[in-house]
């Protein structure tokens, strides 16, 4: 179901020689995305309608639909952009770590820090990710795959350095580390856990998950 919308093409080609029309279109898209981000954070994915989003952006629903196929498309665009920034932040954090455990902890802490200021949006994303209709699209998004790849990369490096055993079952272990990282968000969202508390829990999880792989 992947396709590049004519709008995106217009947006990209406009980088070199932006026509007034293309600029206006970009501006509209940005306005809709900002409004959608606010409403998804306020009322959740289900609670925010295209009509509300259009009103918030100060335009007609028709203008919204000219830029996005539906609400799910809008949400995906927002999450996709965020996750790309998140992957960058994690990659940067990984560079500051020493050893697999430390690197993973720094990456995950960067993730919690990234979402600390926008937990309502994270909450909406988790809600969508478990839904039978919209969940698969969000979970199979390439950006989610890149986050998982970052973890796999670090485990692979750990094996290459001899820090982890050759039989580290990297694929399953990476997935479990990613799941463990995600599983702490409810504590952040509902119980107001501090960054320190999240980091402590995450460290325990990483230690337990790496322990078996440390024995050659």
């Amino acid at each position: 179901m992947k396709h590049i919308s004519p709008n995106q093409v217009a947006g990209e080609t406009a980088v070199k020689m932006p026509t007034r029309r293309a600029l206006a279109k970009q501006h509209t898209r940005a306005k809709v995305l900002a409004a959608a981000r606010r409403l998804f954070s306020e009322s959740g994915y289900e609670g925010a309608t295209i009509r509300d989003i259009a009103a918030e952006a100060g335009m007609s629903t028709g203008a919204v639909f000219a830029n996005f196929t539906d609400k799910s498309d809008l949400f995906r665009e927002i999450m996709g952009a965020d996750m790309a920034s998140l992957a960058e932040a994690m990659h940067e954090a990984a560079g500051r770590g020493r050893g697999v455990e430390d690197v993973l902890l720094k990456m995950f802490t960067a993730g919690y820090a990234f979402y600390k200021g926008q937990l309502p949006l994270a909450r909406a994303a988790f809600s969508v990710s478990w839904a039978p209709q919209d969940g698969p699209v969000l979970r199979n998004a390439p950006q989610v795959g890149s986050l998982l790849d970052l973890i796999t990369e670090q485990l692979t490096l750990g094996v290459q350095r001899g820090e982890l055993s050759q039989e580290a079952e990297i694929k399953l272990r990476s997935q479990m580390l990613f799941d463990a990282y995600l599983s702490n968000y409810p504590q952040a969202i509902f119980e107001g856990w501090s960054l320190d508390a999240l980091q402590a829990r995450s460290r325990d999880q990483i230690r337990i998950l790496l322990a078996g792989a440390r024995r050659g």
Binding site: E46, W130, A131, E169, A180, S183, I208, A213, R214, R215
Partner: protein, 227 residues
Amino acid sequence: MSTELNGPRRVVARNPRRPARPAQVATSSPRQTQKAATRNRVIEAARELFDTQGYQGTTIREIASHAGVSVGSVFTTFASKGEILSQVMEGRLEGFYAELDRLAPHLRGSTADRLRSIYAIFFAVEAPRTRLFLSHIAAAFDWTLTSTARPYGRNERVRALLLETLVKGREAGDVDPEADLAGIVELLIAVYGWTYHMVVTEGADTQRMTETMDRQIGLIADGFRPR
């Protein structure tokens, strides 16, 4: 049970074995009996709709219509959709606990094997309505959730059983005395819940999830085996 496991979608969720609440029977006025009946019908209808349409995909209006009651009477019994789900999930615990109590004394083998057996029971209990369990997790993040609702991951009985299994393993010399048992319990609970993502991403069935959980437990157990 096996037909439920294999069927792609359950047809109708009626449970004649589900007893009325004794406390309500003892003091029942006609009005209370009526209220209990409405309550049961709403829960039955909601169980079926949450399973087939998901939590977000189901409205209170649909639940009311499916149960053959008015929207108003749903709201006199339940504060929100989240609370209805909470009651539906609570209702399944009876059978779940009975199954655990029946099998717990028969758990054998290594600590990892015991944990695998426990989780095999969890998956078997949810098997007839895997999507209902997804609703359960999704609802934890939903805006309509009230403070009375019990989202996934708060079951103290499950937590206690897992800890007990690990403590026994430590006593038997099967678990490293240095291992962080409380941390392992939290991790197991998290890993189990997140295993259900396989239903969303690849439409995995109970068997596939149970196999994956077995491997995940093995991977955790590699870390807590005595050195």
